[in-house]
Structure formats: structure tokens, C-alpha cells
Amino acid sequence: MTESSGTRATAPLAWDRLDEMSDRALAALIDCTIFVLRQGDEAGAAPAAAQMPPSALIHALEQSLGERGLDPTAATRVVREAELSRPVAILLLEEISTEPALAAEIERVWRERGGMLFVGTATVLAAALLLLVVKLRKVKVNRAEGVEIDFDKLSNGALGAVFKFIGA
């Protein structure tokens, strides 16, 4: 009796080909990323962004972007403009994948979720991920080895890429 049969995520996660993923696959990867980030947030700063209604998400994003000296009006666009979801999500994920320990943990969780009998939403929660990226300062992954990631540096790169893309 094994627990390995039937899992759908058998191939390695291609971080450099995220744009080839379907909306449903991308949405699942974002779920996993949000889960890993929230689990690794020892300071408890990570909000339950995926459960927030759009208005609350916009408000929280505006506040966080403003605190970092960024244009808060971008929050409404990222939340409301559906066509921005995919590219923004991919930019954020690509930046996150530059941290090997974090990328490995997300891939591990993504693989475990891949074997689930579960119909996940196909909605790409880019704004929820963006909020976490803005809010988090440090994330601890792989608790056994205690790998701590300085999220400030990572989020600066991610926000730069996102704001360049949306032209804010």
C-alpha cells in the first residue's frame, strides 16, 4: 500500500513556463503559495487575503502600498481588472521562485495538493498574493532547517516588476 499513486503533479513545476499554465493550474499554484507564505509568517502579519471580499482587499492593499510609498490607486486596478490577474500573478510567482528554499517548499505543497480529489476555483487570486507580498517582512520555510527569507528584498523586486507592467 503506497500513498504515491494517482497524483497529478508528477512533472517538476516549470517556474519559467508559468504562462503556459491554465487558469485553474495557476490558481492552484497561487493557493499553495499563499498557504506557504502564511504558514511561514511567524510575526502573524499575513492577513487571510484569499478570503477577503474585493472592497476589503482594495482597502488593505491601498493602505499597504501607501505605506511603502507606492501609488495606492493600483490596488483597485489589480483587484477589479480581471485581465491583469494572470500577468500580475505570474510576475509575483516568478519573483518568489528566485528564492530556492521558498520555491522548493511551494513546489512540495503544490505536489501534495496535486493528488487531491478536489475541485478548486479557477479564479486567479493575484491581488491576494500581492497583498501578502507587500505585507510580509520575513518568512520562515522548512521549519526543521529553519530557513528564513528576507521578504523585504524579494517584495521590492516583485513590486517593481508589477508596477512596471501595469504602468502605475
Binding site: Q39, F118, V119
Partner: protein
């Protein structure tokens, strides 16, 4: 720590000891009534409703979170199993465990995994989940349980014919079972696993086998309903498909199946005197957009099953997501697809209590179906055996995988 008498599985079916545990939730308290195998009654208090409901809500939130289940991060479930879940068991049950236990939950205790509560198995023995000690079946109400028992074809078989000793039944056993088994993964990434599981299930039956998982025929609403229209109904029906819950209108919850490539099926309604009225058998709803399922999918809803289905099978196996849980409706009616199959005539149903990894569902299914068919065990004892064997394997420390599959309805 309550201690359970560990059943050896060597009892004859006529001698099986069967108990029932009913849970009752009122405004102030949650209580239980345990009917022993000898007919004795034990009433006990579980706790205050306010406290218990709060704990159950927190546990349910964890069990409904696929990320918690897939990563095995289930602290609330583990706490329930090792600690407060024991309050749902009466002292008599654990000191002298029956062979089979029928659990009748009430209100918020529907979907509570009582079978995972850890009991002391004896001197020097590690704790075991209750479901590995007794054969456990859930019944959402006493009336539904009576209906399941009264129409169970297996109960027409002489009890003395049943084997309960763990030995394979004789090849020429008089009780031959047929099966219809099919599955479809319209989301496209577990198709092979669905097909192989459906085929494996069918291989265990010595009667007529119909398998819809070959890939050459789509597994459609019509394919599922074929089991309800043929006479006699198959002894067992196995359906493997993704499901979803419609929170706003539970009867519109359903399974995602393949669209019929032959077009919309036409059905004939007899009017009178050999005249018929044809109508197009359309699904009752569109595929929810959020599922991401493509245009080749259709929804087989619980409502369609209620309107258009009737079945007298001994067992319906629902091996999909969101098949075994849902909202508790008015009149203490837990709405789930598994319940719907019981209401339209199935004697028993097995289904996951929450969304789980397919590997756990497959492992449980293999063990259960082997116990029920080859070893000729009553379903509840086949469930107990499956849990014992999974626990001896890689699922020992994974209650969210070990306990996902449950039996509902008649235990025989």
C-alpha cells in the same frame, strides 16, 4: 482512558454484536444515547452545546480546507481524535466494544468523524481509532436507517451464509454480485487514476460487470442513470467523478461528468395507448464557471438524481470530491450526494467525508472492496478491516487520510 475490547473478526454473522450510538443536540447540551448489543441503554452528556459547536465549527473549517488536508497539517482533527472526541463515546462502548456500531448523529454532529476517535486497545497496545476496533456505519436518521435495512437485498440472504472469518469465500458461493463502475475526470489531470480505480473495483465482482472507464465511451449523466434504469439494478454502483457543493441551493450540487458526444439524449414519456411524448434530457444546470471545467462537461445534480433515479443496489460507492458532505437542511437532513443515493433506494453508500488525496481513497477502496467481495464480510467489517490495514501502512499518523472514507446506511 477508555479501553476497547478488540474484536478479532472471527465471529459468525448471526452472532455479531451490534450497538447504536445516537447523538442529540439541544439548546443547552449535547448528549448521547448508547444502545448496547444486549439492548441496554446508557445516556451520557457530551458537553455544553455552545462549547461543542464551537469546537465542531473549527474542526469542520480545517477539514474543508484542502491545503490542510493535502499537507497533513490538521492539528484540530488530531486534537479531536486524541482528546475531546472521546467525550462522544460512552464508557460502556469502550469497555466492551460491539462488533458493529451504528452512529446516528444530529444537527452539528453530522460529518463528525467519530470513527477516528482514539480508544485504548488494551494492555500494552497502542491507541487505535474507533473505526479500526468496531465496524462503524453512519445513519443520518433512524428512519433512513430503517429504510436502508428494510430494502437491503443482502438481508434476504441467510445470515448463516455469510463468512466472517477472514477466509476467502467459496468460489461457488450462491451470492453473486454484479457491478456498474465508471468514472470521468473532466478536469483532465486524474483521468488515468479514475479509470484504473473503476476497473479495479469491477474486477472484484463475480457477476455481471459493466465498466464505463475504458475511455472509448464518455461517462455521462445517461451512463450513471443507466444503473437506475436497468432491471435488476446492479448489486454495486461505483461512481468516480469530481463533485462540487452549491452552498446556495444544495440540490443543485452535483458531479462533473462528460457531455454526451451523441448529442442530447431523448427520453420518451408514455402518454396513453402506445403514444409517447419525447423530450430532451437536458441537465438541470450549467457547469459552474469557477470550476474551470471545459465545454465537454455537464453536471449531474442531486436534484436530477432525486427526480429521475431509483436504485435498489446493496452499495453505491461515490469516490469523488464533495460527495459525502454538505449542509444540514431543515428537519436535520444532512444534504450530500451520498445521502441522496440512500434516499433513492441504495442500502448503503460509501463516500469521502471531506476532500482527500486520491491515493488514500484508492487504498481504502482496494481494501474495502476486497473485504466485502472476496472475504464476504459484512460492509461494516470490511470498513473496519480497511481501516486496520491502512493504519498498518503509510497512513498511521495521517488521520485526515486514514479516516476520509466512511460507510453510511445499512452495515450488512
Amino acid at each position: 482512558m477508555p479501553r476497547a475490547r478488540v474484536a478479532t473478526g472471527m465471529t459468525r454473522v448471526p452472532d455479531l454484536r451490534v450497538g447504536a450510538l445516537e447523538l442529540v443536540v439541544v439548546a443547552s447540551d449535547v448528549a448521547g444515547v448508547y444502545t448496547t448489543a444486549n439492548g441496554g441503554r446508557e445516556r451520557f452528556r457530551v458537553g455544553s452545546t455552545a462549547e461543542i459547536v464551537q469546537r465542531i465549527d473549527a474542526l469542520r473549517a480545517e477539514l474543508r480546507d484542502p491545503m490542510c488536508i493535502s499537507t497533513g497539517r490538521t492539528p484540530r482533527l488530531r486534537e479531536f481524535c486524541a482528546s475531546w472526541g472521546r467525550r462522544f463515546l460512552p464508557a460502556t462502548l469502550t469497555s466492551d466494544a460491539p462488533d458493529v456500531l451504528v452512529v446516528v448523529p444530529h444537527g452539528p454532529t453530522h460529518d463528525l468523524p467519530v470513527h477516528l476517535v482514539e480508544v485504548d486497545a488494551g494492555e500494552g497496545e497502542p491507541h487505535r481509532p474507533l473505526g479500526a476496533v468496531v465496524g462503524l456505519s453512519y445513519a443520518s436518521s433512524r428512519s433512513l436507517f430503517i429504510r436502508c435495512v428494510s430494502r437491503n437485498a443482502a438481508r434476504r440472504r441467510a445470515l448463516s451464509q455469510w463468512r466472517c472469518d477472514g477466509q476467502p469465500r467459496a468460489p461457488a458461493a450462491a451470492w453473486v454480485r454484479s457491478v456498474m463502475s465508471g468514472g470521468a475526470d473532466v478536469l483532465g489531470d486524474l483521468g488515468d487514476a479514475f479509470r484504473s480505480t473503476c476497473a479495479r473495483v469491477a474486477e472484484h465482482f463475480d457477476g455481471e460487470r459493466t465498466v464505463f472507464s475504458s475511455g472509448s465511451f464518455p461517462y455521462t449523466r445517461s451512463a450513471i442513470k443507466a444503473a437506475t434504469r436497468r432491471a435488476p439494478h446492479p448489486s454495486a454502483l461505483c461512481v468516480m467523478a469530481h463533485g462540487f457543493i452549491d452552498e446556495a441551493n444544495h440540490r443543485m450540487s452535483g458531479l462533473l461528468v462528460e457531455r454526451d458526444t451523441m448529442g442530447v439524449a431523448a427520453r420518451a414519456i408514455p402518454l396513453h395507448d402506445g403514444r409517447y411524448f419525447d423530450f430532451r434530457d437536458l441537465p438541470l444546470r450549467r457547469v459552474p464557471r469557477w470550476t474551470g471545467a471545459g465545454g465537454d462537461a455537464e453536471v449531474f445534480t442531486a436534484a436530477e438524481l432525486e427526480i429521475d433515479g431509483e436504485i435498489s443496489s446493496e452499495l453505491v460507492m461515490l469516490l469523488g470530491c464533495s460527495a459525502g458532505w454538505g449542509r444540514v437542511m431543515q428537519g436535520d437532513e444532512p444534504a450530500s450526494l451520498a445521502e441522496t443515493w440512500l434516499k433513492i433506494g441504495a442500502a448503503s453508500a460509501v463516500a469521502p467525508m471531506w476532500d482527500a488525496p486520491i491515493a488514500a481513497v484508492q487504498s481504502w477502496t482496494d481494501e474495502f472492496i476486497d473485504g466485502w467481495t472476496r472475504l464476504d464480510l459484512p460492509k461494516a467489517l470490511a470498513v473496519r478491516r480497511a481501516m486496520q490495514r491502512m493504519r498498518d501502512g503509510p497512513f498511521r499518523d495521517a488521520p485526515e487520510r486514514l479516516g476520509v472514507m466512511t460507510l453510511r446506511g445499512d452495515w450488512l
